[in-house]
Structure formats: C-alpha cells, structure tokens
Amino acid sequence: MSDILLSVRDLKVHFPIRGGLLGRPAGWVKAVDGVDLDIRRGESVALVGESGCGKSTLGAAVLGMITPSAGSITFEGKPIVHGLAATRRSLSRDVQIVFQDPVSALNPKLTIGESIAEPLHIQHVGSAAERKERVAELLKMVGLHPQHADRKPNAFSGGQRQRIVIARALALNPKLLILDEPVSALDVSIRSQILNLLLELQQRLGLSYLFISHDLSVVRHFADKVAVMYLGHLVETGPTTTVFANPVHPYTEALLSAVPLPDPVLQRQRRRIVLKGDLPSPANPPKGCKFVTRCPLAESICHETQPPLMSVGAERLAACHIRAPAT
C-alpha cells in the first residue's frame, strides 16, 4: 500500500462572476488554479498564504464541499467524485475539518455530547449505548471530563470548545484532518495547549493534517512540509525547516521576513522586506508570474510567462524565473 494518503493533481476551482450577458458569467475568479499536492500518512502539510490566496478553497475541495472545475483529487488511490452525496458521506468518514472559530462551529442548542455524537448518528455507527461510550472516550482523548457531555457549549471557554470541535472531528476515526486556522481565534496562553493536543493526537492516532494557517511560527513548529500559495498557485513547496531556513521564492522570503520575531534584539538586526501594495484581485490577476506586481526582482520575462515549479533541492520546488530558472 502506498503511503500517500491524499493526492491532488492540477486542481482548479474557478468561480463565475455573475452579471454577464444572458446570464453568462462576466468573468472567472480563479481561486485555485492548477495545484499539485500530496499528503502522506501521518504527515502534516501546512498551506500558507495571505487571505484570498485560495488556501481555504483548496481545503474545501479536499473535503468534497466544493466541486473543482478541473483536475483530480484521489484519497487512498481512489478518485473523489465531487457532487455525489454518497461520495460526501464516505469521504466524511476519512476527512474531517476543524474550523477557526469554535464558538460558531458548535450548535448552541445541542449538548456537547450530542454534537460529538452527531457524525456517528449520520453514519449509523453503533447503538445508542456504544455511541455514548464513544463520546466519553473522545472527551477523555481531548482532555475534557466525560461527565460534562450533557452541558451546552456556553458552559465552556474558547479553548475547551476547540477541544470539543476536535473531539467531534475525531468521532469517525478519520485519517485526514483539515485544520483551518485552528488556534487563531484562541488566547495566546491557550494556543500552546491546543497545539500540544493536536501533536499528541497525531502521534497516537497516526493522523495526517492539512494545516491552513497564516501564523508562520506555528507552521514552523507544527508542519513537516509547507506549501506557499499566492493567487491560486503554489509558488514554493518543501520540508518546513529547509524552506524556512532558506526560502527560494521572493514571496516566501518576504512572507518570512514580515513575521516579527518575539525577540527585540534579533528583530532589530533583521532586514524586513516590505512588499508594496496588496494582493491583486483574483478576478483580474496579472499576466505572467502572479507575484510580478509586488516582486522586487521582477524582470521582463516575469511579465510575459508564468514560471513553472522547478526542483530547487531535496523535495523542494519553487516557481520563479529569476531564482529557479527553467533549464
């Protein structure tokens, strides 16, 4: 059996812009535009990039919640056929998601036990007694008291609610968890508790994580591999430690230099690359390299053609005409 759990090939998700003649779309937002990504068993892959780069859309496509315009996603070697209720149902046994905001992710009218048991209900897993037992087991697994199963979400703090959301995501023994900014909405002193829990669960259950985040110090701590996304394209991928130590793509470089380090002495010595301007609209991306409007290195070729991902070291790829020229 191959150890590749999830394989994404040339994935495109284009959304129509309404308002064209006779109901035809006036244009397309290319949220994800030709992405390749593999996730192995037990591996954490982080997807980083600014808001609007397409990272959450990619996550939603992997979950089966959005139908891609082109390309393929295979899970354990089997292609995911989007749009079929049966696919959604079988996929949700294997792939689950943990959202950013645990307050809106839980139904306030259900007890947390009911919320955690809901996936089991939907999938007709076990008897009522078995489900109850499973809920208790899951609550223990995430560090909460099984006796609290009959309380409502408002009895819990933000960090505890995130634990409940994680317990619900684990109810069906998934193989892949999509973590969409799992600690961003939490207080700083609670974040490390949740990160530790996620690391421990991964070790214990052999989970794979697709970790969507803009917090690069958390990504560095958490992920084996990192994929940097810009305007629907991957611009650099590779093992997290080597990419962070030695970024190739100018966007990765700027992104890393923009994160202030929690160390005033070090921070003063750093050279910060301040990018000009904002992310261009994905409805109207620049021609050529998508980063060309903000790139400090851009030359004429960058305005003409889009650079392909080239090998730039062990398991590393980058798409840049200047730093990773095609041979």
Binding site: E50, S51, S157, G159, D187, V188, S189, I190, R191, S192, Q193, L195, N196, L199, E200, H214, L216, S217, V218, R220, H221, F222, T240, T241, F244, A254, L255, S257, A258, V259, P260, L261, P262, D263, P264, V265, L266, Q267, R272, V274, L275, G277, D278, L279
Partner: protein
C-alpha cells in the same frame, strides 16, 4: 526630565459593579511606544477607552486619574474632551472595515477632523487629506479620496483609518490591535508606517496587542496586564531578557519560536483566564502559577521595582527564573 505626555494613575473601571480595570498605572512619554500586552478580558482595551473618554455606557470609571498633556481627562467637561479627541489624541481600532463609516467617502472621513478642529474649508482640507493618504502609502490618493470603504481592501482601510487618526498630528496615538485583522505582509507595511510617523513627528503611541512579535518589533517599553492589573512593566529588551512575573515568563515561553525544535511539546499555562467578577483572592494569577504558595493566596503583591529596570507584581519575583 519633562513630565510624561500621558500619565495614568490607579485607574479603576467597573462594569455592573465588577472591576474590569483595577488600579492600573503607567505613563507614555513623547515619541515613545508603550505596548500594553495581555489576553482578552485583562482590561487593556477598557484602559484605552478610558483615556479616549469613549467607554461603553455600561462601564464606569470608579477612580484614579488620567493626565494627558497636563489636563485631567476624567474631570474635563465632555465639550473640552471632544475638542481634544481626534486633535490632540486619536485612536485606531482593530477592525478597520467596521470602524469606518460605510456611507461616507474615505476622503470626507479623513478631512472631517480638519474641518471640525482646524476650521479648514473644503479645498484646503481636501488637499491635506489627499496628501495624508499619500503619506500613509495609499496609491492613487485622488481616486481613493472619492471612494467608499467597501471599495478598499482591509489593509487599505486600515491605512485610511491611520490617515484619519494622524491628520491633525495628534500628540498621542492609541492603537488597539491595529494589525490583528491583517495579513503579515500588510502588517509589516502598517508597522513600518507607524514607526516612521513616530520618528518624524514625535507622536507617542500606546500600542495594544497580544502579539509578542509585534511587541518586540515596535515597543520601547512594555506593560503586561492580567485580570485588570499591570503585573509587570519594563523596557522591551529588559523584559524579554528577564521576566520577574511568572505570567510574563510563561506567556513568552508558550509561543513557538522560529528556532525551537519542531514538534516539541510547548510549555503551557495551566487553567484559564479568570472571568470578570470571579478574580481570585490574593495574587490573581495564583491558580495558574507554578510558584504560588501561602502569601500568594492571601494578599495581592504590589508593583515593586525589578532587579534591573521596571516593576513587577510578584511575591516571588526572584524565583521566576526557575520556571522552565
């Protein structure tokens, strides 16, 4: 030495009888950036709103004084305060898009305080507003002047709000989580802009944040708040080099660093931030503190001088270094 621009002494704010700010003192000098750090519910935003005179209706100042440029803000008539707000001191908020008036053109929102405070007429106010938009790095300022907030990105709105806050060249800028809602590359632009303005105009900045990276990057001095009180206060280098309050030490140690061992177990702070109205007796950090013993459960430690510079409020300040 000249008196500090802003001096807050023993400030107390209550909501429904429960204290939310409980004896907070600090000062900010001209040209200085003071970072007020803490988690949600520690009272940092309420402190800022008190200085601005913009406390929500349910909140009430129960004691203390706020002295800004020689005037006691708490006893000043509202009419006087309104004359100063937006003129001598201004505030930028966390959610730029939500804080701008959606029905008013960006340019009009920026020139408003010039018209109100400086009595400028349409043409010269417009000119100044466009110059300010350019100053904060907004491209095509003439076009942006006539646009509405929804036509601008989040980073652009935040810059417009900074332009609005700075148009009258305030002596004090209060920035409440100014970059929390923004992407890191836009955050970098905004932080650079704030530093440049401080360097060029000598504006003092009270920077409220929970991001220790932003603190390290921006602050001259740091005041750490926990459960309504300042628990430690020191120059930024001294504070990051040595902590004399366990909360500061733990807060810094729980952040993943770019040079630590990947996937190692991070230090954690046990327990939760106590809710307002349920603050523990004695030191408010005692239920979560590894050093807590009998005195900590009985009485609240005062803010006392640290061994180097600054102050800390811990009965065991000399043993904080033992916490791994």
């Amino acid at each position: 030495m000249t008196a500090p621009l802003l001096q807050v002494n023993d400030l107390r704010v209550t909501i429904g009888g429960n204290p939310v700010v409980d004896g907070v003192s600090f000062h900010v000098s001209q040209g200085e950036i003071l970072s007020l750090v803490g988690e949600s519910g520690c009272g940092k935003s309420m402190t800022a709103f008190s200085v601005m005179g913009l406390l929500p209706k349910v909140a009430r100042v129960a004691g203390g004084s706020i002295n800004l440029g020689g005037k006691n803000m708490l006893t000043l008539p509202e009419r006087e305060r309104r004359r100063m707000r937006g003129n001598e001191f201004a505030m930028i908020f966390q959610e730029p898009v939500a804080s701008l008036n959606p029905l008013m053109k960006i340019g009009h929102q920026i020139e408003e305080s010039l018209v109100v405070h400086r009595g400028l007429n349409g043409k010269s106010a417009r000119k100044a507003a466009i110059a300010m938009l350019e100053e904060v790095g907004i491209p095509e300022p003439e076009i942006r002047f006539g646009q509405y907030p929804f036509e601008l990105s989040g980073g652009m709105c935040q810059r417009a709000m900074i332009a609005m806050a700075l148009i009258c060249q305030p002596r004090l800028l209060i920035a409440d989580e100014p970059t929390t809602a923004l992407d890191v590359t836009i955050q970098a632009q905004i932080l650079e802009l704030m530093k440049r303005l401080r360097d060029e105009t000598g504006t003092a900045i009270l920077l409220i944040t929970h991001d220790m990276g932003v603190v390290a990057d921006m602050a001259d001095r740091v005041a750490v708040m926990y459960a309504g009180r300042v628990v430690e206060e020191a120059p930024v280098d001294a504070l990051f080099a040595r902590q004399e309050h366990p909360y500061t030490r733990l807060l810094l140690s729980t952040i993943p660093r770019l040079d630590d061992e990947p996937k190692s177990i991070l230090p954690t702070i046990e327990g939760l931030v106590p809710d307002i109205g349920q603050w523990p007796v004695g030191c408010r950090f005692n239920p979560r503190c590894p050093l807590a013993d009998k005195p900590c459960l009985e009485s609240q430690p005062p803010l006392a001088a640290r061994s180097d510079q600054g102050n800390a409020a811990c009965w065991h300040a000399d043993r904080v270094g033992e916490i791994a």
